[in-house]
């Protein structure tokens, strides 16, 4: 985290922390992504929205190295990079917090934070004190104060606390880009608030944050910019301050008026 703090939120024209250009991906005859551009800057929360099947998950999985792109280029801090697998993504500091969390209920908070990357000595012995103090430090750094004991099993945590642990795990490995897939989907009002605050704090600490959500209220609460995908194409990119929810909804359902293609025009009325 010290590393991410070192690059403070820049203003004005900046090279994006991560940028994709012209990404296409098809599954058999289905074109899931068609020439999609996307970018996220350090220190901002970029929301990625779109209806079901708009290509959000596909784009994220391409960036995370789970799918390979058919076409397209990826730039990290302006440098062209190639992502050919999850390892490459991890090396670029890309961490994804998936919707279904991927925590082990039977392990405690520390054990989950270090899962698969345990601190150990040459005899494979775990260094519990190191892991415990570092976990406490990371969670404190994110102002996660609702977890009373980090030696508590994750099974006994609330949904918001679990989400905090998953996010904490994503940011503790010198990550530079954190992608959150529907982080508030299953949460109540108070817990949603906690998680959104945490998301904003990540950006304040200089990380590039991508927030995928269906909930426009959450997006207008936390995001700085909004990228809209529709039917696998770019529909629009908005500055959050310069746009209303209506406009975003319209972009999601009908695309931006000038760019509306003939297809899907019939669906437009249903949502509106």
């Amino acid at each position: 985290m010290t590393e991410t703090m070192a690059t403070p939120s820049p203003a004005g024209v900046v090279t994006p922390r991560l940028e994709t250009r012209g990404v296409s991906k098809s599954f058999g005859s289905v074109l899931a992504l068609d020439d999609v551009d996307f970018e996220v800057r350090a220190g901002e929360v970029m929301a990625l929205v779109g209806d079901n099947g708009a290509g959000k998950s596909t784009l994220i999985k391409c960036i995370a190295g789970i799918y390979s792109m058919d076409e397209g280029e990826v730039y990290s801090d302006g440098q062209k990079v190639s992502i050919n697998g999850p390892k490459d993504a991890a090396r670029l500091g890309i961490e994804v917090v998936y919707q279904d969390l991927a925590l082990c209920d039977n392990l405690d908070v520390v054990q989950n934070m270090y899962l698969g990357r345990e601190a150990r000595d040459i005899l494979f012995r775990l260094k519990e004190p190191v892991m415990e103090s570092r976990t406490a430090e990371v969670l404190r750094g994110l102002s996660v104060t609702t977890i009373s004991s980090i030696r508590q099993q994750v099974a006994s945590l609330s949904g918001g606390q679990r989400q905090s642990v998953a996010i904490g795990r994503a940011v503790m490995w010198n990550s530079r880009i954190v992608i959150l897939d529907e982080p508030t989907a299953a949460l109540g009002v108070a817990q949603t608030r906690q998680v959104l605050d945490l998301v904003k704090r990540l950006a304040e600490q200089g990380l590039a944050v991508v927030l995928i959500s269906h909930n426009l209220h959450d997006i207008f609460e936390a995001a700085d910019r909004i990228t809209v995908l529709r039917l696998g194409r770019n529909a629009a990119v908005f500055e959050r301050r310069a746009v209303t929810q209506q406009e975003v909804v319209h972009a999601i359902t009908a695309g931006v008026p000038t760019k509306v293609p003939g297809v899907g025009a019939t669906e437009t009325e249903a949502e509106a």
Partner: protein, 412 residues
């Protein structure tokens, strides 16, 4: 009983800043209420069982019966350690009974003086354990690589290895073991002095590891242990270790087989709770998908666990063969399989995977051996023994299911 419990009784996981005796007790109580019961129910059950049999027959707690009990349960406890690992993954291994029989057959055949490949003593035991570990690896590969349910793979193993035992012993019906080292595994008792030396070494090691843990935590400033609790633990361990040796010395002495069991328990507890491998076993048992996404090689973890299961079954089989000084057509049969699995479950290892401790192998087989021994002393038939053990097993599994539900509800 509590000797080994304390020997393994690693410093309890993470007490926070609050470290008065009362606060520690309160936190323990909270986690029990939430369903995280651990080995507590079986300890309580054991006390009740011992009290009951002692009230019925005062021979129950004699030194002679005590040493008997230790030897009786050594084999099953050893096998049950392997079962704990398999259950932690949420899998099952039904082949362990006859795989243990295979190990018995291997040592018996290797030590035969007329054989062209006569191998004696430790070498024979090592070969037998390697053979059974490979059997475990073979069966595990069907589970881990191909994805065949472990229940079916090891059920096939149960049939197959029973056939192999019958085939290889053949018409003789029995192979007598003459090798004195192999026979000593279950029949040697330490002299009084050696027994006390062992107790002293155990106490020294326990004190050292406890204090190193205390200092390491203090250095990292995560929490300070309550020194009263630490002192009580050390004193308790010392009393139990020397008490057990003193009690055993009144009769034949401390059996080497039980020392072996304790060393195995300590070693595997260390593996399960202090190494990355152990951590990954718990992770795979808790949520295999999460483990996979965290970069853990789930397949290798499964393969290694089935190897451990095979190896421990083999070692248990050597103890059984040694105890009888022979192997016969019944090797690995009888109640070995069911006792070993029941021991792990009664001791508090969850059948749902991800929860349990190696020590539960000892606690569970203590319950089973105590009940069996007590019922024998009271002169009841084995019919009663089966019924009682069955009832205890049902109670243990029910408790597991209930505590699992409570744990799940505690979160939301």
């Amino acid at each position: 009983m509590t000797e080994a419990e304390l020997a393994i009784g690693a410093p309890p996981p993470a007490e926070r800043n609050e470290n008065s005796v009362g606060a520690i007790a309160r936190r323990r109580w909270e986690s029990w209420k939430a369903g995280d019961v651990g080995v507590m129910p079986v300890v309580i059950g054991l006390i009740i069982i011992v009290a009951f049999f002692y009230s019925q027959n005062s021979n129950f707690l004699t030194a002679g019966n005590f040493t008997n009990l230790m030897v009786q349960m050594a084999g099953v406890t050893t096998i049950a350690i392997g079962v704990v690992f398999v259950l932690l993954l949420g899998e099952i291994d039904l082949s362990i009974g006859y795989v243990s029989g295979i190990a018995g057959v291997v040592v018996a055949k290797l030590q035969l003086p007329d054989g062209s490949w006569e191998v004696k003593g430790v070498a024979a035991i090592v070969i037998a354990v390697i053979v059974t570990a490979l059997i475990g690896l073979f069966q595990g590969s069907f589970v881990a690589i191909i994805g065949v349910p472990s229940f079916v793979v090891t059920l096939a193993g149960l049939l197959f290895w029973q056939g192999v035992i019958l085939y290889s012993i053949g018409d003789q019906g029995v192979i007598v073991i003459d090798d004195s080292l192999i026979n000593n595994v279950a029949n040697y008792f330490f002299s009084d002095t050696v027994g006390y030396i062992i107790a002293a070494i155990a106490v020294a090691l326990f004190a050292l590891s406890t204090l190193l843990g205390v200092f390491s935590r203090r250095r990292h400033g995560i929490r300070s242990d309550n020194m009263i609790v630490v002192a009580l633990k050390l004193i308790g361990f010392t009393v139990v270790a020397f008490g057990a040796i003193w009690w055993a010395n009144k009769e034949r002495g401390f059996p080497v087989a039980f020392l072996m069991v304790i060393v195995l328990l300590v070693f595997w507890t260390w593996v399960a709770e202090r190494t990355t491998f152990g951590r990954h076993v718990y992770a795979v048992g808790g949520n295999a998908e999460a483990a996979r996404r965290a970069g853990i090689n789930v397949r290798n973890i499964r393969l290694i666990v089935f190897m451990i299961s095979g190896a421990m079954a083999g070692l248990g089989g050597v103890i059984f063969a040694s105890r009888l000084n022979s192997v016969d057509l019944n090797a690995g049969g009888g109640t070995i399989l069911l006792d070993a699995i029941a021991a792990a479950v009664i001791g508090g290892t969850s059948l749902f995977g991800g929860r349990g401790r190696v020590i539960s192998a000892l606690m569970g087989s203590l319950v089973i051996a105590t009940v069996a021994n007590g019922i024998d002393l009271l002169g009841y038939s084995s019919a009663i023994k089966f019924m009682v053990t069955g009832a205890i097993l049902l109670a243990a599994v029910t408790l597991d299911a209930v505590s699992r539900r409570r744990l799940e509800r505690a979160g939301r």
